[in-house]
Symmetry: C2
Subunit: 360 residues, 2 copies
């Protein structure tokens, strides 16, 4: 992890306590992979909630590939464009420690758009997409990702968009990632698909076999197109795409009849200078296949039902949350950098203060 050493250094001298609001802000728009110089450390007073507002104390923050796009200032994934000096967007789990809002109470555990900071004043507006974290008898930490937007992404992308059928010969890229580690288990254990996972490195390939994949392709070591031909001789019924680029193109060459491609993410393209040029989308024609995108915020109306469902799978063992947890708010830039260097396994989060003392 040499690429991450400079991020270790960035974290090393940061001191954090509960007496101020610590923040990570955009220093400059990243070009290529994020670098330490793209982040600026900030310290402010703890803000005071006005009438109609609450004060949130951050417990966990989640990391997502889209954050680099936020930092680049274009606006992405339903969040406002950021400029140098702005606190970086990020969803997380927090506890309300002061409330001047009629509907929200001191002690409530919530998840939503907190930003990269240790406190936040919020009016709990729809723009922040705040949800009460329900106590399913599970750690609050899970609400950061698995019982949060990541879990909803996996569920909506697999079921609403991918329409899996039992026995589908499926391929899943980014299978060891945040969304992928959930999709793999839902596809294998709930939908009854035969999941071929793609991940980077022997360790991840071993892990995804434990997450329901019947076979694995190591994109760092294997010829992906050749392995797809060998492992999917009758074609691919369903492809859940977390990476875009060459792997999407290789899958398009091996579609079964009426195949479905779910476009979830394209992490291989995020740090590229130019978008990927897909030259074989016309392969969808011969097999009456489709490529369908989805955006998780289009599926918020099903939040409660999906969280109920995912919590039940955690309880019955069909879904094991895979969490990669960095300890300490100062390590947020490092946690983000891991996403782009293949360094994380499962959902990536950062523990700012850990579990709440009480769950109201």
């Amino acid at each position: 992890m040499n690429a991450l050493a400079s991020f270790e250094a960035l974290a090393a001298d940061k001191l954090i306590d509960d007496d101020a609001n610590y923040q990570w802000r955009v220093a400059r728009a990243p070009t290529g992979l994020p670098k330490p110089e793209d982040f600026r450390w900030g310290v402010t007073d703890i803000p005071e909630p006005a009438p109609g507002e609450v004060l949130l104390k951050t417990l966990y923050l989640g990391l997502a590939p889209v954050m680099r796009m936020y930092m680049q200032g274009g606006g992405a994934a339903g969040e406002a464009a950021l400029h140098p000096g702005d606190v970086i967007h990020g969803r997380g789990v927090a506890q309300i420690i002061k409330s001047r809002h009629a509907d929200w109470h001191e002690g409530d555990i919530v998840q939503g758009q907190i930003g990269w900071q240790t406190y936040k004043v919020s009016a709990m507006t729809p723009a922040e997409k705040m949800f009460r974290c329900r106590n399913f008898g599970l750690p609050a930490m899970l609400s950061c990702k698995t019982l949060g937007m990541t879990g909803l992404s996996a569920h909506a992308g697999l079921f609403a968009c991918g329409e899996p059928r039992a026995g589908d010969k499926m391929v899943l890229s980014g299978a060891a990632g945040g969304v992928g580690s959930i999709v793999s288990q839902l596809a294998a254990n709930v939908a009854g698909c035969d999941v071929l996972g793609i991940a980077g490195g022997a360790k991840k390939c071993s892990i995804i076999r434990d997450l329901g994949c019947s076979a694995a392709i190591d994109y760092q070591a294997d010829d992906v197109a050749a392995e797809l031909a060998t492992l999917r001789p009758d074609g691919i019924d369903l492809y859940f795409d977390n990476v875009g680029g060459n792997i999407l193109s290789a899958v398009l060459e091996r579609l079964a009849m009426r195949a479905r491609i779910t476009l979830c993410g394209s992490i291989s393209e995020y740090a590229a200078d130019a978008p990927y040029a897909l030259t074989n989308y016309t392969r969808l024609r011969r097999t009456d296949s489709r490529m369908q995108g989805f955006f998780v915020y289009n599926h918020l109306d099903r939040w409660d039902a999906v969280m109920d469902e995912l919590a039940s799978y955690i309880h019955d063992g069909r879904l094991r949350p895979v969490q990669d947890i960095e300890q300490g708010f100062e390590r947020m830039p490092l946690a983000l950098a891991k996403l782009y260097t293949g360094g994380n396994i499962g959902t990536q989060l950062c523990s700012v203060r850990g579990e709440p003392g009480e769950w109201r």
Copy 2:
């Protein structure tokens, strides 16, 4: 039509009678747009059917953009690869004039893979995709395209693949072409869509307004992206794509929620040296939209039902066949060249001998 003058010259010295089998063969694989030098004239004896075979006398032949791909030898759209010297693939309408086949009789009118020739011996195998032309009280000529594979393409692409909803704000490219002229009328008059047609030139734009389009964009004169923004301010619900390339890319920038794109053809790409590089397919994500292909031969099981339906629309006036008819088998290369130069309106066919004397 200067580009077609050399094809006029190619046709000028060809003499055709009923005493021999005249053919157009591949002289060489076309590079870029087809040229007269790509075609070779051939004359053979009229073949004799063996037991289990019939002798077909060609009445009409249809032209389709895919024929250039056949000639290039790669094999395309379910037909075998062609090599220099081979008779060019082409579907058409013929009458059986001798039969040594138990299921087919002298006088039957059929449509199927005849090839560019004035007679053909056929065993009526599934590979030739031969269908009996039913007599709906309509000219046999219609079986060449509108009540043939072109009509099935339009129907399958619009209904099975595009799943139109009444009131859909639709866009249709290649609206004055073979498939397009049928899709426009089915979408407007049967499915109840609001069809914005795209075609090349003022004449075609005028024609497509008569075919159900409520508005038209002239891609030769207008800024397509700007016109789409003006004419589809709330986005595009359904896009039927006959052209691919830049217009597909422009549509991807203006999708409404849960939009559907039907990939039918990509004529703008067929004569290009390299396939089009689609850099914005990820636009499907934000709006939960899909891009779906279809291949007409995947829909042959619904042949009879679709032909019944299309014939009923012709009788009740909701579908007016638009046919561009070249007279004379010698004009086949010219009729094909018209497809790539924007020269044809509606379905392109060639009358070899015209209507049969009797319809059995």
